[in-house]
């Protein structure tokens, strides 16, 4: 595995729901508030992320290279998953699938 990806996975995996859904939503370019709405839609109303949490997590993810700024609309930045972010999300999904299969094998 890419050493930088490895370093990121130690920090981000297992992923919090916040990070997971932000990365998921950013498969398409969105601005901050758009992410809040998209995650609410993806989770069918279950998860309504706070605006404070969003701006903090977005700046952290941008610094770590998980997301990129792909545009600007007035004062709003438009973000999108980077290749690194995509790979990290796939690692997390792999981990979650493993958990499911292992538990099914145990009879759950």
């Amino acid at each position: 595995m890419d050493p930088y990806l490895n370093k990121l996975s130690i920090r981000y995996i297992p992923m919090t729901e916040t990070a997971f859904y932000i990365l998921l939503a950013l498969k398409s370019p969105l601005h901050g508030y758009g992410i809040i709405l998209e995650v609410e839609a993806l989770t069918e109303g279950r998860l309504r992320l706070g605006a404070g949490t969003i701006y903090g997590t977005l700046s952290k993810m941008e610094k770590d290279g998980l997301i990129n700024v792909v545009g600007q609309e007035e004062r709003r930045k438009i973000y999108r998953q980077s290749i690194l972010g995509d790979e990290l999300l796939k690692l997390e999904l792999e981990r979650l699938r493993t958990l499911i299969t292992d538990s099914e094998r145990s009879g759950y």
Partner: protein, 173 residues
């Protein structure tokens, strides 16, 4: 209606709760001054309002636009503190829904306090030592009171830093 409310950086929740109760009783915060401690209320219909304090002296335009898009309104801001409010009907909205973002806010405050403490400490120490050097043989009232005041200063900083550090530790568990 005016009120003085004393709060410190590590008991934001109590302050937020107080404002929310006031709003439910028909007193809506109109403005605040002196580091958001002198509060001015106006009489309004009882309403459900969620308040949230954020410490961020360096908000980016983008961050502000995200918060404002989500219908939060900055009732007051002072010395890096922002007091946000949002009316709601059913579920109480929160600015921070994740532990890690609360930790980040506390870390921002901790950093600034630490910075202030480190810049003020040498000043306090040199002043105190100068006092003792020149007044060693005299039981000077002013020297004693000065020492007491400075000690209180230092103790407050240490108390504040410890409280914040423990809060951050508690979140991480």
């Amino acid at each position: 209606m005016r009120e003085f409310y004393f709060w410190l950086g590590w008991n934001c929740e109590k302050f937020e709760q107080h404002l929310e109760e006031m709003a439910q009783n028909g007193w809506r915060l109109k403005s605040a001054s002196f580091g958001i401690t002198i509060l001015e209320y106006e009489r309004r219909e009882p309403s459900k309002v969620s308040y949230c304090l954020d410490y961020n002296p360096k908000y980016t335009e983008d961050s502000l636009s995200i918060i404002r898009d989500d219908q939060w309104y900055a009732v007051s801001k002072s010395v890096g503190w922002w007091l946000w409010e949002k009316e709601y009907e059913t579920e109480k909205p929160k600015l921070f829904t994740d532990k890690s973002s609360l930790i980040e806010r506390d870390k921002r405050l901790l950093f600034i306090l630490l910075l202030l403490f480190c810049t003020q400490l040498p000043l306090l120490i040199t002043t105190l030592s100068n006092n003792y050097k020149y007044n060693f043989h005299r039981f000077d009232f002013s020297m004693i009171s000065l020492s007491i005041i400075y000690s209180i200063f230092i103790l407050f900083y240490i108390y504040a830093l410890t409280k914040l550090y423990l809060r951050i530790r508690k979140y991480n568990r």
